[in-house]
């Protein structure tokens, strides 16, 4: 019964986290678009994360921050699930969750 309560609360918490991530990302991206129109930035060129925070114009920085907020949302989902399974003492799936985090870390380092 305690496990079901944790599951229900986790569903609500996850919905809140995802919606917050989506809203943050959308606001940053839309602000970046408005800034691009206002400043007359017309360059359609790719940027790396590093360049976005050093050389890129302000509007593109905002958009890249929005993209990073978007990318962080599924990562938060994965971390949230691991916490839920720790609370439920479902160790088998805690290991599964940590394996997914390891693969995501691999993706980040390969990138």
């Amino acid at each position: 019964m305690a496990s079901e309560r944790i599951q229900a609360r986790a569903g609500t918490a996850m919905t809140w986290v995802i919606r917050s991530g989506l809203v943050t990302a959308t606001v940053l991206i839309a602000s970046g678009l408005i800034a691009a129109l206002a400043t007359g930035d017309t360059s359609l060129e790719g940027v790396t994360i590093r360049a976005a925070f050093t050389d890129a114009p302000f509007d593109e920085r905002l958009i890249v921050m929005g993209i990073l907020a978007l990318v962080a949302t599924p990562v938060m989902e994965v971390l949230g699930l691991i916490v839920v399974w720790v609370l439920q003492k479902d160790w088998r799936f805690v290991v599964v969750g940590l394996a997914v985090v390891a693969v995501l870390s691999l993706a980040f380092s390969v990138g």
Partner: protein
């Protein structure tokens, strides 16, 4: 191509269309965005794939936020399969940045043909590959701790459906293939994962679709890093697409009862045949200008 107001409007419109279509027939995202960017906007296919992956993360997050409380998503199943899928996605994205763009166009053309065949095979919306359940009425679902099992209340039949996933290694192997397709071509890969879970692992279609939506976002994240690091994400190209897709998906969910999904699917299938031929021809160096 430069960024100006008309381009902004066109990109938002493309995103709206892709998001709306995805919500209605379950196939949108990459299948629409990538060829549209390549053929209509003259964007490099790798940049188009990277843009599509960012958009896929947005649509997945929107879908998960709707389904998380219904209990239809089996997170234990999704995370178990995600290990193989995310590894496949990393491999797919590395292949995409390594092989010639012409080869990527040909592979995308073949993928579109497969997608068209799947579209025409689906008898109704409930057999396609994306959000299938009605989160307002279906739900009350649960997962069994320590196992790949669960259940939910099916509003259509009024019954309680329980399930136990079988053949996990088979599901993981197919999911890895879906990950490769996603990372290489910028698609969600739900059209591979949902049948794998449903037919291969005997998971109910509603659970398979909701679980696939959760997985798609995590998979896209694992490949988008590869594109971001190589400067293939163009902020002013991605931004209008994301805004359009999120709005289109919300609009599609609200208009789903006003449009015939069957008719839409047939029109889309015809369109995809032409697009797949053009992508194949372009990859083979004989652009037809369709």
């Amino acid at each position: 191509m430069t960024f100006d107001l008309p381009t902004l409007v066109e990109l938002i419109a493309l995103g709206l269309f892709a998001g709306w279509l995805g919500a209605l027939v379950g196939i949108g995202g990459g299948v629409v965005v990538v060829p549209s960017l390549v053929l209509l906007f003259g964007v490099d296919i790798r940049v188009a794939v990277a843009s599509s992956l960012v958009a896929v993360i947005a649509t997945s997050a929107a879908a998960v936020s709707v389904y998380a409380n219904s209990g239809l998503t089996n997170f234990r199943l999704g995370m178990s399969l995600e290990i193989a899928t995310a590894l496949g996605a990393i491999g797919g994205s590395l292949i995409a940045v390594w092989i010639p763009t012409a080869a990527l166009s040909v592979i995308f053309g073949v993928l579109l043909m497969v997608t068209t065949a799947l579209l025409l095979r689906a008898k109704d919306r409930r057999q396609t590959t994306e959000p299938l359940a009605d989160p307002a009425s279906d739900g009350g679902g649960w997962e069994v701790s320590g196992r790949l099992a669960g259940g939910f209340h099916d509003a259509r039949t009024g019954s309680v459906v329980t399930y136990q996933a079988v053949r996990a290694p088979l599901g993981a192997a197919i999911s890895m293939g879906a990950g490769v397709a996603s990372g290489m071509l910028g698609v969600g890969g739900g059209f591979i994962k949902v049948p794998a879970m449903n037919l291969g692992m005997r998971v109910p279609i509603k659970v398979a679709a909701a679980t696939s939506n959760f997985m798609i976002g995590v998979t896209a994240v694992s490949s988008v890093f590869v594109y971001l690091a190589r400067g293939l994400v163009e902020p002013l190209l991605v931004a209008p697409l994301v805004v359009g897709i999120v709005a289109g998906a919300l609009f599609g969910t609200r208009t789903s009862k006003m449009v015939s999904a069957t008719m839409l699917r047939r029109v889309l299938a015809v369109l995809l045949v032409f697009v797949s031929i053009e992508m194949l021809a372009r990859g083979l160096g004989v652009g037809l200008g369709i």
